[in-house]
Point group: C2
DNA sequence: CTGAAAGCGCTTACAG
DNA sequence: CTGAAAGCGCTTACAG
């Protein structure tokens, strides 16, 4: 804690009282000038706002929040941000939240044990809403939010807790899209490369993919575990896949970065032609997937829509509206590029 | 603004007063239990802390900040986060700041006009320090920080303002490393691909690179402008470079992602062998550069050290220490991989 | 439409 | 070592 003398060095800010005295008005009136819904004479408001900007006055959100019980802060909770899908999402979400006058408090947790502590710390700052991105929250953690009265919104994760709100791509539907695409191409020996097994994205994409294969009378795809949604995971998975009995004709990777790692290994270390020898499909639609050197066929997540929807949910929640628990699933779109092609049998 | 009824729905949190009454103590004493430097009987503190955790009480940082004039918030200000260098840095910085009980408020600005407004909004939350990452701040913006009494620390940018604090890689030194490497390899027809011309990283890397070439009696490198630090920028730069009179023997790209875009274009669209026909060097040391498919020779920024140093500076600043304006330049390291090799003349 | 007064949840001299 | 009191910068019933 800074000593008094040290603190004094920080310049004193202009306060509401300073402004009121300067204008010869009460603090009540001045305060009302900054609330668009308040009853105040337009001329008075104009004069106050004018003088405020001259003096460089802006209301102190901390003081305000003490009374309104609303901080205008939304906590964004993240664990794994190394997946290139997230920087884009984080930027969009933050920018969108800013545009409706909300501020983002970012929390990163490296492990699940750490996650609970970090969440508690975040909660102490009384965010109006907590947005969970790329993270798995324990049920105690969710309970802590409930106790604090802070609504939680899950992004790109289907919450285990049925009473929570969530926004995701239609991952099951996306898996179906991939199965259809691959089967239509004439492939029948399919494989799936899984990322983190405990994530809903992974589970749902597999679910859609494998169930569709069964529906269409194709043998159930073999499943390989990469262990994480990462380049290295994909690279390693390629090895175990090639050491397997008989390589598949087509591989659906649970996300793009996995697919890119897998393809690099397949091409470099096994001389596999993609497509030709093996077709590969990813999921996410990150910009890297569109680069000429990858030209990856993938399911593009409707990031724009997902963010817009999320921001709208957050806005309502911040206004104190009680929203019914639900998961919004927005359909993705199959983008056919150059890593899939007609199979040998066709 | 939420109506009263709506707001009432949020659960009332346990306050310091609740805890004090529960324990039959004064608020002063209870308050002291949460300040490690306060004078209080150990037994009293223990009892308070124990009951606090039972009741789920945590001090309200907003209320506290009103008195202490210190929020424990550090604002991180970012514009361009699409460069894969930043997600890693942002994660490290945030995690490090969390570990010393500081919270991160994230601000993204899409344009420079927007930047000033967003900074003002950020400042209204009274962050103890503002950390500027991947952004160019106007001098008015910096002035606004000074007026608010909020110290600013620049990360990976050398501030124009001489009174500011900054932490960067030794970019001039890095440029020299690259020049030496390429010249030692026997190359003499060199080129530089610039990212954003107005960034200090770009300027300094060029400065080191070009001045070293002159020193060693090599013709001054040709300079190509990619316009941004991006894959697309690198890809486009490759085109203009190849349409130029005579292609260079070696190319130094102002950062890794530029180099990767450039190489993809060179290989795919011109059938250029790298190395062999042309050597390429990047800057940053992002993980993508180490992938087998790129194996890019690059200057690795000492991210770990840069972050540690930055966090330490922020910590001191939060404690109210007045630090002398200075820019800490930490040397980078040349990582030789597979995109550079002995030139034709050697 | 405006103002006086109370109070949000804390911390900190000051007195004991 | 502890407590009573003032106050941080605001907002909001309530009264006029």
């Amino acid at each position: 804690m800074a000593t008094l003398t040290e603190r004094r060095q920080r310049k004193r800010r202009v306060t509401l009282l300073d402004l009121a005295e300067d204008l010869g008005l009460s603090t009540s009136t001045v305060s009302r000038a900054f609330d668009k819904d308040a009853v105040i004479a337009p001329a008075t408001r104009d004069a106050i706002l004018k003088r405020a900007s001259e003096l460089g006055y802006a209301p102190n959100p901390m003081a305000r929040s003490l009374i309104t019980k609303s901080t205008g802060i939304v906590g964004i909770f993240v664990t794994d941000i190394t997946n290139p899908f997230y920087p884009e999402v984080l930027t969009k979400l933050t920018a969108g939240l800013q545009s409706i006058d909300l501020k983002v408090m970012l929390t990163v947790a490296d492990s699940s044990e750490d996650a609970d502590d970090q969440l508690r710390l975040l909660l102490s700052y009384q965010p109006d809403v907590v947005l969970v991105l790329a993270a798995v929250l324990s049920s105690e953690a969710i309970e802590a939010c409930r106790n604090a009265g802070t609504p939680v919104v899950f992004f790109n994760r289907r919450p285990a807790d049925a009473r929570a709100l969530g926004v995701t791509c239609d991952n099951v539907g996306g898996g179906i899209l991939v199965a259809d695409h691959l089967i239509d191409l004439g492939h029948s020996k399919l494989a799936f490369v899984a990322g983190r097994a405990d994530t809903s994205t992974n589970i749902d994409r597999w679910e859609g993919f494998s169930s569709r294969c069964v529906e269409r009378g194709i043998p159930s795809p073999r499943k390989f575990d990469a262990g994480s949604f990462s380049y290295d995971g994909g690279y390693r998975a390629a090895h175990v896949l090639m050491n397997d009995q008989q390589p598949p004709e087509a591989i659906f990777c649970a996300n793009d970065i996995l697919a890119i790692g897998l393809m690099d290994c397949l091409r470099r270390e096994y001389g596999i032609a993609i497509p030709g020898d093996i077709s590969v499909v990813g999921f996410d639609g990150i910009s890297m997937a569109s680069w000429p050197s990858h030209a990856l066929t993938t399911v593009r997540q409707p990031v724009e829509k997902m963010c817009t929807f999320t921001i709208d949910v957050v806005r309502k929640l911040c206004q104190g509206k009680a929203l019914k628990p639900r998961i919004e699933r927005i359909p993705g779109e199959l983008i056919e590029r150059e890593t899939t092609t007609r199979g040998v049998k066709a």
